[in-house]
Amino acid sequence: HGPYQPHEPGYGLYQPGYSPYDDQIPDPKSRMLAIQNAKAYLLKSSTASGLNLYDHLANMLTKILDEQPTNVVDIIENISKDVKWAQFRKKMDTLRDEHEILPTFEAAEKRKALFLKANGEGDEELEEEIGEMPLPNVMETAFYFEQAGIGLSKDEYYHIFLALKKLITVQPIQTCRFWGKILGLEMNYIIAEVQYHEGEEEEETEEEEVIEEEGKGMGEDEDEEKEKEDEPPKSTYKPPPVIPKEENGTGANKFVYFVCNEPGKPWVKLPSVTPAQIVCARKIKKFFTGRLDAPVVSFPPFPGNEANYLRAQIARISAGTQISPIGFYQFAEEEGEEEEEGGRGRDTYEENPDFQPLSVAEMVDSLSTWVHHRQSILKQGRCVWLNPFQKPEEEEEEENEEEEKAEEPDELQQEIGPPLLTPVSEDEGIQNNPAWTAQSSTTLIPQYAVAILQSNRWPGAYAFASGKKFDNIYFGWGHKYSPENHTPALPPPVQAEYPSGPEITETRDPTLEEELAFKAAKEEALAASEEEEDDEDLVEDDEEEEDD
């Protein structure tokens, strides 16, 4: 390695008495000068890249000392290259800490919007509205239910309160009620039950008629379409008649329901419910996902999407569990024509101004102090029975006309449900359990107790009564209680084919030999008969037509 021979440069330096650098400039002053020259040389900028070696070496050594990689001497060239590349990158760190925009912030914004007073609504409008307050006192109801341990947290109630207020300002609503909350897989539903003003409903019906035409349509449309397509043979299959849904404002469609996923999100109106949907909803049991447009995949196939299924369940729950203390509602006395209606029953009621509330103890002890104030839904899916075999020419749908069914196969029995305002004690129980559980909210302070009823058939439906106040509410998953496991409907049995017999069995086509033989035999027979009867001229073309 080292210089061993005297002629090699630096030989003399390793001899004792000499330092290895003695071949360089020995003089200190000129050594300093030499150092400065060397440094100036290193600092000279390159003409090609504008870098200078001094800075480059400084950067490289800094980087090495910072990072302390292993086996530096082996990768020194790569480090040098990297340092040069780093010239071209921006000095800023590309990974910046972005402020996370959490979805909670957006949700908080929406809820804050609830608290702001809408622009343009001065105090003038408030004065008008104070006369008729469609907005229910949600917090008061919340208080009573809380005495029984039922209900949401206070903030959620308040948010719902404000959301209802917003709904009322947007839609022309006469009465409004917080119906309850239905839980879903991804999101939950908050439901408001609403009745429009008298004249406002007509706009909605026009929209719905348009939708109906796109859908199943009435029976008349189907007949017309069949007549146009006359060429192929018309099938004689008549699908079972579609039972028309009840008019808005009556029966199962008495109230209109609005839903939203969270208070602060816009309210969406649920479509009216049709009897077919109710009938199908009775057969299936599905969780709600929380999105109104989600399809409901089930057997029997549900005619609609989740919005329709939700509406159907709401209709069933309301019909089964909306109860009030006896005497709160009474029948309006104008309907004296009850006899003509036959078994129709009354479907309107009004508040009884002379209502005397019973004590809480009485309300809890006996279930006959509570009555249903919603019509129950019949098997058909409507609250008021309708004979579907009516000829569609009649515009008025009158019940009890069973004479019109000349050609129809079955005679439908008129379905009658329990009349309005039947006591709750007549509800069927489930397996020895009563349909309702009555409790007092507290046994320690009976003077201020509240009577609470919990439904056993629809777990999650509650009602309270205290003095003159009462209300119903629903918190749950939206399903009926069934002690047996849910058995889905089986698919229909495989339809039998037409029984094969000799009449319809295709016979083999005759072969050529058979045809010729037949032809010959027939000619002989003709010839034989011709000899007997000379008058007749048999056309022999018939036989020739057998050439297929």
């Binding site: 005495q147 949401l152 959620e156 839980l183 897989l185 049991k285 599905k286 397996q431 507290t442």
Partner: protein, 275 residues
């Protein structure tokens, strides 16, 4: 959920509509503390409420020094007087599984076997017992089943010491927002079943002090848990669809978590049809 944090916790799980009345809340605040004193529990959890047809049972659990040991369970009809329940045995659980229908609300109510094997009947007759089950036994079995099936804790909340006992993790600061939405960050707080079936590669990634339980991710049927953000996204709420009424809440980035059951105590066997 912890007895100490009960009021705040009830606010957070109230999204399902079930809760406690102010009277019960006040009573629990006092009686759970007394339970802790009388039975020398280290922790008292308010487990929840099973609603019967005629009354409701309020259940509390007491934990000893090893949090994973079998817990003592107590029930009360009014949140004031508590009675200890016998520990659950496999036989009890098997018998109670055959019962269907609501709880009655009376602990001494006797169910009669509707359909039982002929062998069981003979065996019981030999023992001199009649084939009845008391509601108390059914209660015990149901609570055990629910705890085993759907009792949930967040990952990292409990640590297992090398000696085998389980303690709360004092360094647990809560799950992050992204973690909180995943089912794999929550564990069943019961003896693990699937843990030993994991492959060695998977096990290598686990931390034996915190990952000693089964996670909810592989529960059958898939989708039997709903994960929702409530209160505008501040709370993560898990609801079980197998046992309707079980609610687990957790506020991410904080130490608040807990589960509670408000329901009828019946398993939802229709779950596969409903999903």
């Amino acid at each position: 959920m912890e007895a100490a944090s009960l009021p705040a916790a009830l606010e957070l799980v109230a999204g399902g509509g079930a809760g406690l009345s102010p009277e019960k809340r006040a009573a629990l605040g006092a009686s759970l503390l007394l339970l802790q004193r009388d039975y020398r529990f280290e922790r008292v959890w308010f487990w929840g409420c099973i609603r019967g047809v005629r009354g409701a049972y309020y259940i509390a659990e007491g934990l000893g020094p090893d949090r994973a040991a079998p817990r003592s369970r107590l029930y009360s009809l009014d949140c004031v007087e508590w009675s200890l329940l016998p520990p659950a045995t496999e036989e009890m659980v098997a018998q109670a599984e055959q019962l269907k229908g609501r709880f009655q609300g009376d602990p001494a109510f006797e169910y009669e076997y509707a359909e039982i094997n002929a062998e069981d009947a003979e065996r019981l007759f030999e023992d001199g017992k009649e084939p009845v089950i008391k509601e108390e036994a059914r209660l015990v079995a149901t609570i055990e089943q629910i705890d085993r099936a759907v009792g949930v804790i967040p990952r990292g909340a409990f640590v297992k010491t090398p000696l085998g006992s389980v303690h709360e993790n004092r360094n647990f600061e809560g799950l992050s927002w992204t973690e909180a939405k995943k089912l794999s960050s929550y564990f069943h707080f019961t003896e693990p079943v699937n843990l030993k079936n994991k492959t060695l590669l998977e096990k290598a990634l686990l931390d034996p002090s915190t990952d000693f339980l089964d996670s909810l991710e592989h529960d059958i049927p898939q989708g039997s848990w709903t994960v929702q953000l409530e209160k505008g996204g501040a709370v993560v709420v898990l609801r079980s669809l197998l046992w309707l009424g079980l609610v687990f809440y957790h506020v991410p980035m904080t130490k608040q978590y807990g589960y509670i059951y408000f329901g009828t105590g019946e398993k939802n066997l229709d779950l596969p049809f409903m999903l």
